[in-house]
Amino acid sequence: MVRTDTEIKQLTTVVRDFVREVVEPVAQTIEQEDLVPEKVTEQAKELGLFGLSIPTEYDGLGLNMTEKCMLLEELGKTHNGFTSLIGAHTGIGTVGIVELGNEEQKRRFLPEMARGERLGAFALSEPEAGSNAANLRTRAERKGDRYILNGMKHFITNGPEADVITVMAVTDPTKGAKGITSFLVEADTPGLSRGPADEKMGLRGSHTCQLFFEDVEVPVENRLGEEGQGYVNALKILANGRASLAARCLGSCEKLLELSMDYAMQRKQFGQPIFENQAVQHMLADTALEIETLRSLLYRVTSLVDQGEKVIKESAAVKLYASEVYNRVADRAVQIFGGMGYMKEFPVERFYRDARITRIYEGTSEIQRNIIAAQLKREYTR
C-alpha cells in the first residue's frame, strides 16, 4: 500500500495534536496517580493508536515500519508511562500474532486488539530467565487437545490489565532453547493469577506485575506457531520491537531538547540567559548532534525493514544507540535545569528516571552488543 507524504503528515499531525492537547495536560496526574486517565486511553483507542502494528484486514492501520516509527516518535514526546502502555501493546503485545499467528488466530484476536478492546502483553521474563531467555522454567504439557501451563513470569508490562498474553513456556525440557513454545493465553483462563503491580523507579502509569500459572489449560488452537519454535518466535518479536523502542527514545530526546532550549534561553544568571555560556551551548550542541545521528540511523533501519532486508545487527545497534543517547540527553537536560531539574514539578526529572529502563528492557545494552558482535563474527568468518 502506497501512501502519499501528505497522508503521512496528516497522521503525524493528528498524533502530535493528540499528545499536545490531550496527554501533556495530564502528564503530572499520570505521574502522581500512577494511572493513565481512562478518558485519555479511550481517546487513544478512538484515534486508532492501539492498531499501530496491525494490518488493515484486521482493522489496524496497516503501517510500514517507517510510518509506525514516525508515529511512535510523536508519542515519545510525552509521558513515557503512557507511551509504554501503547508501545507494549502495539509492539511485543500484538506483533507476535501479526507475524506468527495463523489466519484463525488473527481473525479471533487482532480486530479487538486494534480497537483497544483487548490489551496485549508479552510474557517471557522469569526470575531465572532474564537475558538468558532460554533458561525458562514455566512448563507446558500437552494433554489431548490442550496444554497445561505451570510456572511464573515477572516484570510483565501491561500485565495487570492485559487480556491476551503471548507466553513462552517449555514443552520439551530436554531440548533447551528448542524445547520452548509460544502460546496465546487469555487472561480470564482459570488458574492464571497476577501479583500486585510492581513499584518501579519510573514509567508510572504503565504497570508491570508477576503472572502465576497453576494448571492453566490452553487449547491447542492458541499455540502460536509450532512446538519448539517459541525461542525463535520470542527473538523475532523482540527484534521487531527494537526500532519501535528507538523511535520512542528519539521522541523523548526531541522533547528534552525543546525543554532544555526553552529553559536555557529564559533562565538568567550573571545578568544573561544561561544559554550564552559556552559550556551550556556545548551540552545542547551535543544533544542536537546525537538526535540527528539517532534519527538518521533509525530511519535507515526502518527503510531496510520496509525493503524486507534482514536487520539483526542494525536493529540491535539502533536500540542500543537510542537508549544510550536518551540517557545522556536526559542527564544533560537535568544539568542545564540545575536544581529545577531535580524537582518533580518539572518533567525533566521524570524523563531522567524513565530513560533508565530503556537500557535494560527489551534486551539490555550488553545483550545488544553481544548480538552485534555475534553478527560481526558471522560476517568476518570465512
Partner: protein
C-alpha cells in the same frame, strides 16, 4: 438529510505572520481547517449520525486546500467539492459567496453549515451572503442546534444571555465556539478519507460570468500592528508627576 458544510483552509492559529512585498507570506506555513468551520464539520457529522444522510464539504481555494477537505473527510464527512480559485481575481467575500451559491444551486440540501467567520480575515460575511443568494433563512453564531423533522431550533449567545430561535429547513447556520467539541480525525479515518469522492471544479465549470465575480472591495495596504513600546514611568514629587502626565496626555498622546 443532505448536509453541506462550507469551509476555508486558514493559517494554523499558532503561525507567526510575516509580510513580504506588501503581502502576507505563506512560506513554510502550516494550514488547518478554519477553527470555526471545524465546529461546523463536527456538527454536520453529528446531524448525519442522528438523522442519516450525507455530509458534503465544500471549499473554494488553491490546491493545498484539498488537505482541509481530506481532514474533514477523515473526521467523517462523506464527500468533498473543491473549486479552484486560480481564475478568481481580486476575490472577496462577495465573489466567494457567488461561487459557492453556483456550486450549491446544483445540489440537493436540507441544511448548510459553516463557521461564523474565518480566523484569517475575520470578516464573517460569506455565510449570510450565501444564504441571501440562495434565498434561504440564516442564523449566525449558533451554540446549539436541534433538528426535528423540518423544525430547527438553535441557541445563540446574546449580551450575556442565550437567545433561542425556531426556524425551518432548509436553512443556513454558522457556528460559534461552544457549539461542540470537534473530534480528532482518527488514524483509520485518515486512511479511508483518501478513497472518498472529491470533485474538483474550475470556475469555468460553473454557470457564472467571470466578470461578475470581481470583488467589491480592494486591499489598499497590509501591515502589522506597531510593536508595543515600553511604557514611560514618571518620577519625582506627586504634584509634578500629575502635571507632567496631564501635559503628556495633551501634547504627546493628544487624547485630552
Amino acid at each position: 438529510m443532505n448536509i453541506l458544510v462550507c469551509l476555508k483552509q486558514t493559517f494554523d492559529t499558532e503561525e507567526r505572520i510575516t509580510i513580504e512585498d506588501g503581502q502576507i507570506s505563506d512560506d513554510g506555513v502550516e494550514f488547518v481547517i478554519n477553527p470555526y468551520d471545524e465546529y461546523a464539520v463536527e456538527e454536520a457529522i453529528r446531524l448525519r449520525d442522528e438523522h442519516g444522510g450525507e455530509v458534503t464539504v465544500i471549499t473554494v481555494g488553491p490546491d493545498r486546500a484539498e488537505q482541509a477537505l481530506r481532514t474533514a473527510m477523515a473526521m467523517g464527512a462523506d464527500k468533498g467539492i473543491i473549486v479552484d480559485d486560480e481564475d478568481l481575481e481580486d476575490a472577496d467575500e462577495y465573489s466567494i459567496a457567488k461561487v459557492l451559491a453556483a456550486v450549491i444551486d446544483d445540489l440537493e440540501y436540507d441544511i448548510i453549515l459553516g463557521g461564523y467567520m474565518a480566523v484569517d480575515d475575520g470578516s464573517a460575511q460569506v455565510g449570510p451572503r450565501l444564504a441571501e443568494l440562495l434565498e434561504i433563512p440564516h442564523i449566525s453564531t449558533i451554540t446549539k442546534l436541534t433538528v426535528d423533522g423540518d423544525k430547527v431550533e438553535v441557541e445563540k449567545d446574546v449580551e450575556g444571555d442565550t437567545e433561542t430561535i425556531e426556524s425551518k429547513l432548509p436553512i443556513l447556520v454558522t457556528a460559534q465556539q461552544g457549539l461542540n467539541e470537534p473530534r480528532y480525525p482518527s488514524l483509520p479515518g485518515i486512511m479511508k478519507a483518501k478513497k472518498k469522492p472529491l470533485e474538483q471544479l474550475d470556475i469555468d465549470d460553473l454557470d457564472l460570468d467571470e466578470d461578475e465575480l470581481e470583488g467589491k472591495t480592494k486591499v489598499l495596504e497590509t501591515f502589522l500592528p506597531p510593536e508595543k513600546e515600553a511604557g514611560k514611568i514618571l518620577e519625582g514629587e506627586l504634584e509634578d508627576q500629575v502635571k507632567e502626565l496631564v501635559g503628556l496626555l495633551r501634547n504627546e498622546a493628544k487624547v485630552i
